[in-house]
């Protein structure tokens, strides 16, 4: 058994070596249990605070849970989810289609970088709230404006990561490929793209969370539609439970999307996690 494990160090990974330990100590080690435990503690403190201190504007934990499930049978809520996510999905798609090739290209060809660098830096440092009025004045309150803002907010992160990805490819790998007679095209397909892949995936993940942030911020600040609009409405109506429930929904959506992105990342670029794997 042990010799087989030595011969194939990776194949045996993840094997349950803690079988046979007492249930309680296994339970205390499990990640899920710890997460549920912290959630329970937070919920208890919340409930205690809302009941003893809170007034109209701080809902109880159980009230929020009820409101959360009430949202699910409210067609107005699903309409808001659809409206918000429309701008996020279109904006994120445009970001990926535009940002990845541009970023990769900038990583390899210095003149392209000199040309675009200053604009990326502007987008990276400018507070987004400052650009929103400008965009709205220019193209109005429609879906286009929201999509454009999502793209402006997310695309620099994707580009910067893709650029860094191409840059960090070991130059001797490129030289190695050249020594075997690789053309620029094969160098792209066989060395640069796989080499940049981990950073590209990181860029996609950050771009996704930025898209989500942009979607909500825009709706809260100037274009009061979708989930942001709903939050503003509930605030105006002093519907604290509803407001909290919408916020919880946004958080859950964000967590789900990021989890999916991480999962895809791990499937596509397993070698990027070698450090985590080799220390067992």
């Amino acid at each position: 058994m042990s010799s087989a494990a030595d011969a194939q160090p990776l194949a045996s990974r993840g094997g349950r070596r803690d079988a046979g330990r007492p249930f309680v100590s296994r339970l205390l080690d499990s990640k899920l249990f710890l997460r549920l435990l912290t959630l329970g503690i937070v919920a208890a403190i919340w409930q205690w605070y809302a009941v003893t201190v809170g007034g109209l504007l701080i809902p109880t934990f159980d009230g929020t849970v009820v409101a959360f499930f009430e949202l699910f049978i409210d067609p107005e809520f699903w309409e808001a989810v659809w409206v918000s996510n429309q701008s996020m999905i279109i904006g994120f798609t445009v970001t990926v289609i535009l940002g990845i090739p541009l970023g990769l290209f900038m990583g390899r060809y210095r003149p392209a970088e000199a040309f675009t660098d200053v604009y990326i830096n502007i987008l990276l440092v400018t507070p987004m709230a400052a650009i929103i009025p400008l965009i709205i004045m220019a193209i109005g309150f429609g879906l286009n404006a929201r999509v454009l803002l999502v793209v402006l907010f997310a695309v620099p992160m994707v580009m910067v990561n893709c650029r860094a990805g191409v840059r960090q490819v070991d130059p001797t790998l490129i030289e190695m490929a050249q020594s075997f007679g690789a053309t620029e095209r094969s160098i792209w397909w066989r060395i640069l793209l796989p080499g940049a892949m981990p950073a590209v995936m990181t860029g996609i993940r950050i771009g996704l969370s930025r898209s989500l942030t942009a979607m909500i911020v825009i709706e809260l600040l100037l274009i009061a539609v979708g989930l942001g609009g709903l939050i503003i409405n509930y605030r105006g109506a002093f519907n604290a439970e509803g407001l909290y429930a919408v916020v919880v929904f946004v958080i859950i959506e964000a967590l789900l999307l990021i989890t999916v992105a991480r999962w895809v990342e791990r499937r596509l670029v397993p070698w990027a996690h070698e450090g985590a794997l080799s220390h067992d």
Binding site: M176, G181, A182, R190, S278
Partner: protein, 269 residues
């Protein structure tokens, strides 16, 4: 046969007014078919630059390099290189790394794979075909690098300090195996090293280079009989080995003294 005639190369100096560095100056060298040539010199002597010129990876200012009478204009299918930094693709398995050169030359995967497996066996890595580079030790990784170069069946194997980053025991093991492989399937080998012992142990001739400007100072023949791979330890203890190493060291040390003097002169004046 590789003929190098009057090869010179400088690197441009950085910044205004800075003189360029003469990496190679008037290098003349003829390398016979199936010869194992080692190139020895202090760091900065241009030995790696010389190898990269032969590989066709960099251009030069003057002179020419001919392989079987044809001038070198870039990388070619008759040459393959083994790198000091090994340069394995971290995202590809051992087999995929070994088939890399073949696939670039248009060999289909189904054809390249059996050949790769043969070479993986030859370098002693049977059973690790599906392993990823990060699962292998440095010595095992360099075996993959060697298999990748051998896979394209080169006439000329260019090795740039291939064992430089390995520990002593691994290095000795790989030296033995490299010799064994070379004794069985003869190719021309140009082997760069900064170790005197390695240069003498492996080579038919040792090219001794000096730095600034990089040029060939001496070519020392190594008359020890072949094959050596089965008794490398005896070779290392032999009188010939001792004599040649001493000869090389005398030369190398005399330059060290020169450098020391050269540094002192401007201070005194």
């Amino acid at each position: 046969m590789i003929e190098i005639r009057g090869l010179s190369k400088s690197f441009a100096g950085r910044g205004r007014g800075r003189a360029g560095v003469k990496a190679l100056e008037d290098v003349n060298l003829t390398i016979d078919d199936d010869e194992f040539l080692t190139v020895l010199g202090p760091s900065g002597c241009g030995k790696t630059t010389l190898l990269r010129c032969i590989a066709g990876l960099v251009s030069w200012d003057e002179g020419e390099i001919l392989i079987d009478g044809k001038p070198v204009r870039g990388p070619g299918p008759e040459r393959a290189m083994v790198f000091q930094s090994i340069a394995l693709m971290p995202w590809a398995s051992v087999v995929r790394n070994v088939t890399f050169g073949l696939e670039l030359r248009g060999v289909s995967r189904s054809e390249a794979e059996p050949r790769a497996r043969e070479l993986i066996e030859l370098v002693g890595l049977s059973g690790f075909e599906a392993a990823m580079p990060f699962e292998l030790s440095g010595g095992m990784q360099q075996r993959v690098g060697l298999a990748r170069a051998l896979a394209v069946e080169p006439q000329v194997l260019l090795m740039d300090e291939p064992f430089g980053a390995l520990d002593e025991q691994t290095r000795r093991l790989l030296q033995e195996e490299l010799l064994q492989i070379w004794e069985h399937r003869r190719t021309t080998v140009v082997f760069i090293t900064h170790s005197m012992e390695e240069a003498v142990l492996l080579g038919d001739r040792v090219v001794l280079m000096s730095a600034r400007p990089g040029k060939i100072e001496e070519i020392v023949p190594v008359p020890m009989p072949r094959p050596r791979s089965d008794h490398l330890d005896t070779v290392e203890g032999s009188a010939d080995m001792h004599r040649i190493t001493t000869q090389l060291w005398t030369r190398l040390r005399s330059w060290q003294v020169d450098v020391g003097k050269a540094r002192k002169t401007p201070v005194a004046s």
